[in-house]
């Protein structure tokens, strides 16, 4: 059975029957999901299943045509993207989207754009440097000059600078060397354990994702086809065949 934190507790984030479109293309066909405080939830699925669209819809970059998104019970599906950051949702987007001609430090500062507590911002920058010492070495370099792995660290660090309650991570392992992937996942777990940050993790690397997540949703062509505890999903025959590459 699914060990949710019982249905009596309100989810931190709840999607109800979300339909999103790109023009006439029906990308999300009625997605429902719940994320509870303190969890790591993963969203797995192949290319074009709607994983990134889900992230974009949650973060307000695009708006659903139908359905509701509730943040602690409050509907947010019509909120503009910039206003959701102060509500506690921040993200490391697909493709990292680092500002190429801002320094590493300024990229981090942009992550804290909505905050006014200068001293705490400075401490948080140091904290990010603690998580990713490479970023400290490159603090003054332009974001665009970093390697792929460093840009990924910067994208995650930048998202953390908002002090999010819900951190959305879109494909943090994309294009990285296996050693780096391990490192990034370790840090994701650390952020979740040490700060109690709730994380929605979108991954193509389903095995890694299911190892760190508590629960997972499997997406296929815009529908949730399966959701369960991560352990259970990892032993699910369909998941093993399709996403973990087993015959």
């Amino acid at each position: 059975m699914i060990e949710t934190m019982s249905e009596t507790k309100t989810a931190l984030l709840e999607l109800n029957n979300i339909h999103s479109y790109y023009g006439n293309i029906h990308a999300l066909k009625g997605i429902s999901m719940q994320i509870f405080e303190g969890e790591i939830v993963t969203l797995i699925g192949s290319n074009g299943a709607g994983k990134s669209t889900t992230i974009r819809t949650i973060s307000g970059v695009m708006h659903p045509r139908e359905g509701t998104i509730l943040l602690e019970g409050q509907p947010i599906q019509h909120f503009p993207a910039h206003s959701l950051v102060s509500k506690g949702i921040s993200q490391s987007p697909e493709g990292r989207r680092i500002f190429p001609r801002l320094s590493v430090r300024d990229n981090l500062a942009m992550g804290a754009y909505k905050r006014n507590d200068r001293k705490a911002i400075r401490q948080d920058i140091d904290r990010v440097y603690g998580l990713f010492p490479r970023l400290k070495e490159r603090a003054k370099q332009y974001g665009g000059t970093l390697s792929g792995g460093e840009q990924q660290m910067l994208a995650i660090g930048r998202a953390l600078m908002a002090r999010p309650r819900l951190l959305l991570l879109d494909e943090p392992s994309m294009g990285l060397a296996p050693v780096l992937v391990e490192q990034i996942f370790e840090i994701i777990v650390r952020i979740n354990k040490e700060e109690g940050t709730t994380i929605l993790l979108v991954e193509q690397n389903a095995l890694m994702a299911l190892e760190v997540a508590r629960r997972g949703y499997v997406l296929q062509t815009g529908n949730v086809v399966l959701h369960d505890n991560a352990d259970t999903l990892m032993h699910n025959e369909m998941v093993r065949r399709v996403y973990l590459g087993e015959e």
Binding site: V61, H82, R97, F99, L102, M110, Y113, R158
Partner: protein, 326 residues
């Protein structure tokens, strides 16, 4: 100093003055292009608005000519600030009414709209101030620093005889123009480089959607950009009026094209490029006016524009946008 050298030195001074006011206009072009990739062809007409509105404000107050005492030190900056606020607000309104509804339209749509706004503004100025040359009273006191007893005696103590420098002049007006344009150019550069809002502007220019994800209200940043660009063009129009003492409803068109050429020359979207380009174009204009003939100056400047667009569209310092698109 020989006559030729004196002419050359005078041309350098003229080039710097022209460069200064062009820089203020070019900054607005380049900032708006950097952030929404719109070549705002109506931008030059804001320069003309600064000229006309400051003229109107002065006429209402009707101070003694030339300004002196408190009028010079308080009224003048007051009018300048008011002109900046009004011109900035006009640019902001133009963006909200004419360009914002077209934010997601193909790029040609806002471009043509900008041309339309330019025609409209010029028609309004023609009705408002008449179609002929409009005199701008000589509010700013003019005094030559070079043909001045004190300066001559100062230089002669240094062993320099400047009494023969009859052709060169450097007046209080030149100094005034520099002391407005150069600090503003520096202030804007620092604003964009150092401040939180300036960094947010750059972030929006580099990746608008990512900026949104950071919590940056992109529409507000675009509005700030239009306001700032308009304010700079407005104050440029005012100091130019005080400097040259005459203008016409079409004055913004040509100033705008020269400033646009400056922005392209430096690399459109690039703040430092716009300033560099403006001073180069100012210098070329002064030299061409003097050595080739002023009737050829437009040919020279727009020839440069065409050559740049054909052979090096990213400009001297590199257009930020085209780098991003690679």
């Amino acid at each position: 100093m020989s006559i030729d050298n004196q002419v050359f030195l005078q041309n350098v001074i003229i080039g710097l003055t022209v460069g200064g006011y062009l820089a203020l206009i070019a900054l607005g072009y380049t900032m708006v292009y950097g952030i929404i990739e719109l070549i705002n062809f109506a931008h030059g007409d804001l320069f003309a608005f600064g000229f006309f509105i400051s003229l109107t404000i002065f006429a209402k107050i009707n101070p003694d000519i030339p300004l002196h005492g408190a009028n010079l030190y308080l009224l003048l900056p007051g009018v300048a600030i008011l002109t900046m606020l009004l011109t900035g607000s006009l640019n902001l309104a133009i963006d909200q009414i004419a360009y914002r509804p077209l934010r997601k339209a193909p790029r040609l749509a806002p471009l043509l709209t900008a041309v339309g706004v330019s025609f409209m503004l010029e028609a309004i100025y023609a009705i408002w101030k008449g179609p002929s040359q409009v005199p701008y009273p000589r509010y700013f006191p003019k005094e030559d620093y070079i043909n001045n007893e004190k300066v001559i005696s100062f230089f002669s103590k240094l062993g320099l005889d400047i009494t023969t420098w009859r052709i060169v002049s450097f007046t209080t007006k030149d100094l005034f123009l520099f002391s407005v344009t150069i600090p503003l150019v520096i202030a804007l550069t620092l604003f964009i480089d150092r401040t939180r809002v300036g960094k947010a502007m750059r972030a929006c220019a580099q990746d608008r959607e990512a900026a949104m994800m950071m919590g940056i209200n992109v529409n507000r940043i675009i509005a700030t950009t239009f306001f700032t660009g308009g304010a700079l063009a407005g104050v440029a129009g005012m100091v130019w009026g005080l400097y040259i003492n005459s203008g016409r409803f079409t004055m913004g068109f040509e100033a705008g094209l020269m400033a646009f050429t400056s922005a392209v020359l430096g690399g459109i979207g690039n703040i430092r490029g716009a300033v560099l380009g403006a001073f180069i174009i100012g210098m070329i204009k002064a030299m061409s006016d003097s050595y080739i003939g002023s009737e050829w100056t437009r040919v020279v400047i727009f020839g440069i524009l065409i050559l740049m667009l054909v052979f090096r569209p990213s400009g001297i310092l590199g257009s930020t946008q085209s780098i991003e698109k690679l």
